[in-house]
Amino acid sequence: MSDAIKQATLEYVIRLGDDSVVLGHRISEWVSYGPFLEEDIAYGNVALDYIGRARLYYSYAAELADDGRTEDDFPYMRSDREYRNLLLMEMPRGDFAYSQVRQLFADAYAAVMLPELVKSKDETIAAVAAKAIKETKYHLRRSRDWVLRLGDGTEESHKRTQKAVDQLWGYTHELFDMDETEQLLADNGIGVDVSKLRDAWHAMVSEILTTATLTVPDDSWAVRGGRTGYHTENLGHMLTEMQIVHRSHPGCQW
């Protein structure tokens, strides 16, 4: 592996790890606040899948970096400016409709992206993707069912779900952006060219939203910055909570 590709792979794995840990943490915020017990458990399990993926990516990042950092250093010892997650993942949990719409957008993204990532020439990345694909089928079914139920539910649930769709739509454009790092990896068969995936994602999401009697928004605004470390104010608040124990007790083992 050439140095340039190795560096790019490290950066890429950190990005994927950041997406997973940030979304996993956001979902975990619902634990003990779910609308009913079964839903609470479901959310806990989905969060666990994402945090598990984050661990796999970060362990690999530590191996690639080979500079003494461990898998814990990546999530716990970097500030918000060093995080490279997509902005969609860091948006606060909001109400239940908001979280489920975000989940639908993220799950549909995983559903179109992972089948490409599993073809990666990098064996570790391909192996993580192969596990994640199976889990994502269950995630997507759940978020799709919830969006259908809420969108085509009461006047209030419809209103809230449409509002969530409108508020989150502008954060989805960034999901399909490429930069030099990702282009280099795509050209070398390691990463995914996500710019080619928007049509498939749009078709999948539109079909679900329309069935749920919701309106697919126009592409009238977009926010970008996650991959370069420019985040919304929400990430910093989330990280302080997520990192406080680790940072307060450096090196603590039990």
Binding site: A42, N45, E123, R141
Partner: protein
């Protein structure tokens, strides 16, 4: 020649691997390691024990997680190390392998039977829906064997299970998802 298998190919291959191993006694020894969340299943029964190699005094064991975030993996790793240390093997390495991804097809026939007796319906006790996922109803109740059941949650006490309730005996039960 047409081979007519009475056992799923994945299970057959695992059994062949175990029987052909030159460290058969270590495979037998590790039958004592149970999944901490499913104490009726050994790591062999669950299909997460992938390989055991001996190189001189060094033992290398390969395990694979069921789900990415399976929290039992760290415990299992420690249990495997301890069991081998107690049996006199001091140099033990436990590797985690992700590829190929674990499949519920790897579960042993004994494991499926034990699971059912423990009150958890194994994957084959439900007909999957058209997407190949857990259906909304009719997983067989492990308590009274009724098919008149309904799904009450897609996720159960762990990521690998869904929650059902029996309409006949009213007992709730876990269903081990096919993945």
């Amino acid at each position: 020649m047409n081979e007519i298998s009475l056992m799923p190919a994945e299970q057959y291959q695992r059994l062949q691997q175990r029987n052909a191993a030159d460290v058969k006694e270590l495979w037998d020894l590790l039958d004592m390691i149970k999944d901490p969340e499913l104490p009726v299943l050994s790591i062999w029964d669950l299909g997460i024990l992938r390989d055991i190699e001996r190189d001189g005094d060094r033992i290398t064991v390969t395990i694979t997680p069921t789900y990415s975030g399976c929290p039992a993996m760290d415990n299992i790793r420690t249990d495997v190390e301890k069991a081998l240390n107690d049996a006199g093997y001091q140099e033990v390495t436990v590797n985690m392998s992700l590829s190929p991804a674990w499949s519920s097809e790897w579960m042993s026939p004994e494991g499926r039977k034990n699971l059912r007796e423990y009150g958890i319906a194994p994957p084959e006790d439900a007909d999957l829906d058209e997407d190949g996922l857990t259906p909304e109803a009719h997983a067989q109740c492990p308590h009274c064997r009724s098919r008149n059941t309904r799904r009450i949650s897609e996720f159960g006490s762990t990521a690998c299970k869904a929650l059902f309730q029996c309409n006949d005996c009213n007992e709730p039960f876990d269903y081990f998802k096919k993945i």
